[in-house]
Structure formats: structure tokens, C-alpha cells
Symmetry: C2
Subunit: 111 residues, 2 copies
DNA sequence: AGCACTTTAGTACTTTAGTATGAATAGATT
DNA sequence: AATCTATTCATACTAAAGTACTAAAGTGCT
């Protein structure tokens, strides 16, 4: 009788643990399908768009809300240089302005 | 003996279901804490910052990458009006410019 | 009606952003 | 060595964004 009760308890515990992790696993899967945000960055897309390393740094700085002058200071180059990078980014992303570039970049999951 | 086996099966099933949902629930909670993106919008924060309905519409339009003129057309008002809203938004969000406002708004989870 | 707040809009101005163009330099590749 | 690409920077623009006011009209509330 004692060994019988122990068996039941162990079985219950195992089932609880197993189904707990099944719940966690299935939930993670379903959530990943839903939200295509906060996912990983699509590096292939960055290459595909021929966005250079420096241009990408500028793009990230834009998404931090920095001005061209602030980006220039951060990267130790002139504001002219940043303007060039931004202009090239806008062309490559087919964006009209920096906020538009951010919207597109998020959509493409490159930031 | 028969009724005894049935009870065990029912108990096992109940435990399985219960722990399955506990797994789902706890997983959802832990994921929400990690990624503060793609989560729900913090409407209390919007009120707290005293951002009006119209100002919030403008904020969303900014995050869509629209220019002041485009926002004006979309909301059927003048560009002057949009400039007023944007200026007020920048003050309320303590932002230096619209891209900075977007960064802050995302951080506060109001967009 | 009176009050508070939001939304609207204007003028005049300064600051940022963005375009177009040309050019120099460094690094990697052929 | 010659070529290609990325990065840098400048000048001279035009366009967009943002500030600082002022003010009128609409909305909701008491």
C-alpha cells in the first residue's frame, strides 16, 4: 500500500512536469508565429540592399533618435559625411526621409 | 478496483491540463518581461504624459514615416496645425526631434 | 452662460534634413 | 600597378522640421 501511493505520486509529478513543459513549448511556438517583431535581424536583407557597415551604423543611430550632428560626433566624422550616408540609405531603402527609413527598416526587420 | 482506476485517470488528466496551462501562462509572463516590444500599449502612460487624442494620432503618423504635410493631408487639417501638435508632443515626450520622440515612445511602450 | 481644454491656424523665424555634385584617400582585389 | 568600393569631406543649394508666439472656434462640464 505504501509503495502503491508512492508510485502514484511520482506518476503525478512526472505528468505535471511533462505537461508543464509541453505548455511552455507550444506557447513559445505559437507566439513566434504571431509576432514577427522583436525577432532576429535579417542580415541577409541588409546585404541584399547593399547597405554598407558604416551606413548601417548610421541607420542604428537614426533609430536612436540622434541628429546628423550628434551621429557625426559619435562616429568621429563630419556632418557632411553623415549626410552622405543618410542620403545613400534613403535611396537604398527607397525612403523619402529618415522617419520613413525607420518604418521601412523595421518592416524589413533589419533594425 | 475499476472505480479506482477511473479515478486515477481523471486525476492524471486534470493534472496534465492544469500544468499545461500553468506552463503556457508562466511562459507568456516571462516572455513579456524580456521583450518589451510587440507588447501591449501602455495607455496609462499616454494619459500620464497628458498626450491628447489628436497628438497621439500625429505620433502614430510620425512612426509611419509621414512628413508634416502628409500628416496634414491624412487628418484633413493644415500643416501649421500638425507643427503645433508635433511641437507639443516633443515637449511632452521630452524629445529633441521627431526621431527622438519615436525612440522615447517605443521605450515607454506607447507606440 | 462661463470655464477649461483641445484643436485649429497663422506669421515669422531658426535649425535640421536632404540633394546634387565633385573629389580625395584607404583597403581590398585582380 | 590598376581597379573597385567604401569612406571621407566640402560647397551650395532646397526642403522639411521645429520654435515662439498669438488667437479663434469647438467641446465638455458645472
Amino acid at each position: 500500500m505504501i509503495s502503491g501511493n508512492l508510485n502514484v505520486e511520482i506518476v503525478v509529478a512526472v505528468i505535471a512536469v511533462v505537461f508543464f513543459f509541453i505548455g511552455v513549448y507550444l506557447n513559445k511556438r505559437s507566439l513566434n508565429k504571431q509576432m514577427n517583431s522583436s525577432t532576429e535581424i535579417n542580415y541577409k536583407k541588409i546585404e541584399e540592399l547593399e547597405i554598407s557597415k558604416r551606413e548601417y551604423e548610421v541607420l542604428l543611430a537614426i533609430s536612436d533618435g540622434l541628429s546628423n550632428k550628434e551621429i557625426a560626433n559619435k562616429l568621429f566624422v563630419s556632418e557632411s559625411t553623415i549626410k552622405t550616408h543618410v542620403s545613400n540609405l534613403l535611396v537604398k531603402l527607397n525612403a523619402k526621409r529618415r522617419t520613413h527609413a525607420l518604418q521601412i527598416a523595421k518592416d524589413l526587420q533589419i533594425i
